[in-house]
Amino acid sequence: MKKVYGSAQEALDGLLFDGMFIAAGGFGLCGIPELLLQAIKEAGTKDLTFASNNAGVDDFGIGILLQTRQVKKMISSYVGENAEFMRQYLSGELELEFNPQGTLAERMRAGGCGIPGFYTKTGVGTVIAEGKEHKEFDGETYIMERGLVADLSIVKAWKADDTGNLIFRKTARNFNPPAAMCGKVCVAEVEEIVPRGSLDPDLIHLPGIYVHRIVQGEHEKRIEQRTTRKREDA
């Protein structure tokens, strides 16, 4: 079965519908599926719910779908870098569900693993716990969080083979594996598709079983906060 597609548009063909739930990888602007997000913008799919740790910045990442009002709801842990997001949220146009970062990652992982709910100490005694089942284990209180299953996962990896085995690079791995796992369908964009047999099987980060479609493309890979140190003069 062919998993490799020629463009992000082709890779998403037949998968998009209004009101759908999409899980996206990335942390800040690092390791985000920038080509697939652009293709969703061009497709004009509306009323989207996104599970994504962040919401991009105004003109990059999920931010480009906020500009076109394609997003109905975000499930995120931190959305601080996006003025348009805040404008839509404060005016009531955009729904926002804050999840603690680790809870969000585990909700994705669990959903992909067939685990409909799990218990965690994270958020006990805070607003996050309101309305959730509390349960004691060994004298400690935990709350139940639900696994997430998305209609579609969009992720970014460094390298893939044509069967969808993925390798990520440095901290660009972040939410990509759990996001990929929780989708009924997962589309991955990569910097390079390498010949079958050229990835070391011991070093695959995400097996191709989780990846249904792959597209290779050029990535801008924008840096959000460029921090450096001065070279000491020798």
Partner: protein, 207 residues
């Protein structure tokens, strides 16, 4: 003289033991890395890295290598990368020995508030709730009072909590206090600061 930012960071670094895996928050906690001396401290960045190195030299920034504050950083010869679910697995699982983080308010029962001010722009809790719930030793580093001169060490937090009963030790510009049965206990004062000075600047019960 109360401690300045760097002295607070240096005092916080003295809390860390050789071999520990540690998560440092943004602000003064980040400075703690400058004072770990000969101890082998492995810094975790919750976006998926153990063994966080310093900022890169100009021209060597890598967009695929950032910390949880989204700043460009470098790796070390012992660095390991992993995904966010694994990262918070080690946090939730109690594998990270200590978390050092800033706060808006700490209550005498160890409640911590550092993620939102009602009515103001809410950016989100990021990984803070996971860290304070999962890491066995939570150390807060913050100024003793806010910009209006009011105590940030309170009987009860007024802001929405990040975690309930999670703080173990507080390092402020005036000294070091532990959360104990019945309130806060002064364990150290900054040079030239008396216990009475701390009592006068603290709303929380001092035991």
């Amino acid at each position: 003289m109360p401690w300045d930012r760097n002295q607070m960071a240096e005092r916080a670094a003295a809390e860390l033991q050789d071999g520990w895996y540690v998560n440092l928050g943004i602000g003064i906690p980040t400075l703690v890395a400058n004072y770990t001396g000969d101890k082998e401290i492995t810094l975790q960045s919750e976006n998926g890295m153990l063994g966080m190195g310093p900022f890169p030299y100009e021209g060597e920034e890598d967009p695929d290598l950032i910390n949880a504050g989204k700043q460009t950083i470098t790796e070390l010869n012992r660095t390991a990368y992993f995904d966010s679910a694994t990262s918070f697995g080690m946090i939730r699982g109690g594998k990270i020995a200590a978390a050092i983080l800033g706060a808006m308010e700490v209550a005498e029962n160890g409640d911590l508030a550092n993620w939102m001010i009602p009515g103001k722009l809410v950016k989100g809790m990021g990984g803070a709730m996971d860290l304070v719930a999962g890491v066995p030793r939570v150390i807060v580093v913050m100024d003793h009072t806010n910009k209006h001169g009011e105590s940030k060490l309170l009987r009860e937090c007024t802001l929405p909590l990040t975690g309930a009963g999670v703080v173990d030790r507080i390092i402020t510009n005036l000294g070091v206090l532990d959360v104990v049965e019945g309130g806060l206990k002064i364990v150290e004062t900054a040079e030239g600061v008396s216990e009475d000075d701390i009592r006068a600047a603290t709303e929380a019960t001092i035991v």
